[in-house]
Symmetry: D3
Amino acid sequence: MALDPQLAATLSRVTTATLTTLLLKKGLRNVWMRGTRPLDPGQPRLVGSAFTLRFVPAREDLATPESWSKPISTRAAIEAMPEGCIAVVDAMGITDAGIFGDILCARMQKRGVAALVTDGALRDVAGVRATGLPVWCQGVAAPPSVAGLTFVNWGEPIGCGGVAVFPDDIVVADDDGAVLIPQALVGEIAAAAPEQERIEAWIMGEIDKGAALPGLYPPNAENKARYEAAKGGKS
Amino acid sequence: MALDPQLAATLSRVTTATLTTLLLKKGLRNVWMRGTRPLDPGQPRLVGSAFTLRFVPAREDLATPESWSKPISTRAAIEAMPEGCIAVVDAMGITDAGIFGDILCARMQKRGVAALVTDGALRDVAGVRATGLPVWCQGVAAPPSVAGLTFVNWGEPIGCGGVAVFPDDIVVADDDGAVLIPQALVGEIAAAAPEQERIEAWIMGEIDKGAALPGLYPPNAENKARYEAAKGGKS
Amino acid sequence: MALDPQLAATLSRVTTATLTTLLLKKGLRNVWMRGTRPLDPGQPRLVGSAFTLRFVPAREDLATPESWSKPISTRAAIEAMPEGCIAVVDAMGITDAGIFGDILCARMQKRGVAALVTDGALRDVAGVRATGLPVWCQGVAAPPSVAGLTFVNWGEPIGCGGVAVFPDDIVVADDDGAVLIPQALVGEIAAAAPEQERIEAWIMGEIDKGAALPGLYPPNAENKARYEAAKGGKS
Amino acid sequence: MALDPQLAATLSRVTTATLTTLLLKKGLRNVWMRGTRPLDPGQPRLVGSAFTLRFVPAREDLATPESWSKPISTRAAIEAMPEGCIAVVDAMGITDAGIFGDILCARMQKRGVAALVTDGALRDVAGVRATGLPVWCQGVAAPPSVAGLTFVNWGEPIGCGGVAVFPDDIVVADDDGAVLIPQALVGEIAAAAPEQERIEAWIMGEIDKGAALPGLYPPNAENKARYEAAKGGKS
Amino acid sequence: MALDPQLAATLSRVTTATLTTLLLKKGLRNVWMRGTRPLDPGQPRLVGSAFTLRFVPAREDLATPESWSKPISTRAAIEAMPEGCIAVVDAMGITDAGIFGDILCARMQKRGVAALVTDGALRDVAGVRATGLPVWCQGVAAPPSVAGLTFVNWGEPIGCGGVAVFPDDIVVADDDGAVLIPQALVGEIAAAAPEQERIEAWIMGEIDKGAALPGLYPPNAENKARYEAAKGGKS
Amino acid sequence: MALDPQLAATLSRVTTATLTTLLLKKGLRNVWMRGTRPLDPGQPRLVGSAFTLRFVPAREDLATPESWSKPISTRAAIEAMPEGCIAVVDAMGITDAGIFGDILCARMQKRGVAALVTDGALRDVAGVRATGLPVWCQGVAAPPSVAGLTFVNWGEPIGCGGVAVFPDDIVVADDDGAVLIPQALVGEIAAAAPEQERIEAWIMGEIDKGAALPGLYPPNAENKARYEAAKGGKS
């Protein structure tokens, strides 16, 4: 299911740090996918619906080069990815085999996939960088996926970096890694986020003027009033 | 799919140590489920078809006591287990929440489930022991499953202890833990196993008489001939 | 602060499994101290107020046999332990040095300490067993504490097995390990626990009669009514 | 306690590699804080007295956004930091929550804190970089501290990266990470360090001329004499 | 090199806990082999010279059942073991393959090997127990060694459980695991150990009479004098 | 043994990703050395025969600055390295001590060593970078090797990053890390590699034109024919 473009635009201006604070206030402490680091520093923030892929451990009779031609394969999964989605791959945190290399990433890029997020590793990293597909992953490894992983399906609930990801949940990824927003909460979070960013920007301004932290962050009644006044003045 | 009773009877007389040697000779090195230790020492060897269950990490909006009443729940999964199966549970190696406690194990025992195998933990271990259900697991933890895990489905391919398990693969569990035999190989393995056990028993006899290892284990041509002669003599 | 004896008596009849379920319903998912296993199977359930001890890593200039004679030492800490407390020791999960051996445990036993709980290891385990002090720990290691640990203080907030423990929080330990109840919640939990144990016992009876799980555990309206009726009949 | 400026100046010209060698010769093998990597490559070497902060694991009733306004909070700790200190934060090696983000780091920078060292993670890393505060840490994570940590105090002995750090110990951090010098040893180490750097520079010159390692590094009597002669010639 | 029988007899009456304390006083903090747990509780303390074996990771072209017949094999190593030695096996801490099973252990038992110590796992544990060979190991695993390990040699320096072991170093193993005594120190340690055990026994007696710890353990001048007097009285 | 220059030239044009795929087709799944990351991004691919070095854990009586002057030392090992070799160092994955610093790396560079590969850490990383020696390692640590490691020998079989390395095996290292080619297979692999690279380049061209993955990668009969035709046309 495609993500509403206006929600996506709003979320693309909110840091994952702010999103995790808002989600914690809703009772969700476990939404940040461990090990999802940007392959290249400075990748822009990306937002999309999750398209999930799932691996189980390798078994020599199943995880073979021949398996790449089967109807259920990573190749078929990629052809099923809708434009603008974020592919989220459960590699069980295994980092000694690369889930994808340059060819698969090039095809994802061609299909308009927004980003690839995994708790596993990529291979042929020089080639992957050349495709321009934005990637968040735990590392780099030369061996093919079948050296450590058996692909089983797409479109299922998965774990990625210790976080439960269901198809069509929302993923936001930036310099701090990738964060999950449950589909049911995305409207609420997107509504609250811009104000949170605004007040934090005002606080940074106060810090810059030499203000001390207690009473400022989080703001007490007095500072909330000052912020509201300043906001009024700005608008 | 029920396991052929004769195959099951044959396999129940073969150690998992011997089975892993035979599987390695077929090219399968990764069939032993890490962390699957017998809950009680001296549990008899058990054999059955795998009935798989799958968890993903906990999410506070999903992993709730209320989830226990949903149509897709561990409760529903247990009611779907056929008699004689071995339930194999993918807990992603998480050992700080218990997948099942005494009540669920008691029901499994009532339904004739042969054994429970998991890379996770059990809870209320005193109660579980009292049910008499044979369990292979990685540990014991007081918290309920929803403290760390979200149940997602049964009857799917899973990973358990770093091993790929597909529904209806064969599982054998003894003092050394639980081992997977791919369904396609079970006939071949069951055919070869008794002879392997026989020759190892003969070798143990030779060791007992003071024989040295080189040439004996594995046997060279001379010792193979001696074994064949001894076997002939016995039969 | 001593724990109210009636609360203690109530809690001593409740499994840690049930306590963690009740605490999760209050929003606390992280109360089970990882790695706290009973040194001997079959130790009875114990309840007490937490008396905390804290180690930091070893430093060769500080963690010396001479440090054992200092005013701030594990020896002094033991002499400060009140009767009936449970000593909870933050060893940072380090398991290659033993925090205490037979002599310190013998003194704790003499002083009426109810139990020792740690995410670290004990040493001279044969001697510790002989003292009769009930111990929950992560393992056994021959080296003295100073081989890996520097003792710093008692009576401070600590982490033990990934759980925050404050002085005078309540600790309950049984076959499933040790669980923390925040002091502010102990009354509420102790009030709810016996009923939870009663209904689970009734459910076990139903399982024994062959009832299926869905609708029974947790009970739906119909089964709740049946339980209430049964309870009425019993009383 | 402020570090003597001349000692600081001397130490700022010595690599942490050389400092650990000198400390090992004094019997201290465990002084390098594991996981303390420069947030940005090329940060200059920094020296300061340790100002310690301590976290324990998160507990949902304690680790809340409300806790940020308490008298004992990370905010209050920052206001207590003296100019020129190095803040050393015990995050128990937890890397899935960020101890501080841009606002707290901006305030530290304003207060003249020399550097932030932790075995945990930072959050809002783009914002943190913008503050200009030099940081050594184990990684980056979007979630707020309360998602995984409860702050308990400042000015206490802590562990950081497996090293015991006491308030007012000296910390030196460079490309190789952060190293602890016990306060009692800092004079002795600072006295020996420049000579060690000098002889290593001379050895590098010999290597450059094609000399072999045995007898040169460490230098035997002949090479020591040659070095002394060269040094004499230079001065 | 065979261990002097009188030294062996002395050491067999000293706990590994006491030995590690004495070695720490000589500056050796790292002598306890992590993960070396007695296979069966209650195994008597054993003492012997180390006979080392070394594995590297498995490689499919080398770690084959055929390799068991090579001149350099675990079989040949066992035939080279002298009576009374303790075999110490470097399995690099790998616990998902068993280094030895019942047949190899039976042969070691026949040859008079005192014990087997490893940071790896045993396989066919029921069979191994039946041989009567005392074993200290990190676990149990069904797969054969070649599933995870390639044997390379015997009689070389190794690491075992994070400890450097050289051929002919002394090993003592009891309920607390296995401890290394460098060959050069064994005389000194054996000379000091009985007195250390005697004073600790006297301290235990004092504890039993109700004495407090400070000043007693370690004893201050007054208590040392009392101990000396008591010792005099006894002899 | 020096590597044939033509083989080396061929291999230097093949990615380690492609090499691991070819080795997997020969049955070798475990050839990629975990943790061997390029110290600097963009290091060119390097090929050489393995020259092995082996450490065991530190022991305070052996791992001393004095040991650096012994006949068997890292210094002597470096002087034994032939020009063009790749030094592969088994540090048992220990990353809290640096195996080598600037002086040893400078000498290796002088001797014409092609590269240094280790599963351990380097120290004085700024100095190491200045030497120009290409390094693949798991990290950076200030402490000297003797803080955590005892050097034992060179020219022996070792494990590095979970891979068995024998002297004179071939090592290829690039952006994806370092890969082992058994000496016996190097001719075969070098013969097959260029064609594999050619067909993958053709596939990338097809992807660029918008082709879908199924049937293309790996190519089915039709696409193989198209590739052969294209290849014919090119030549």
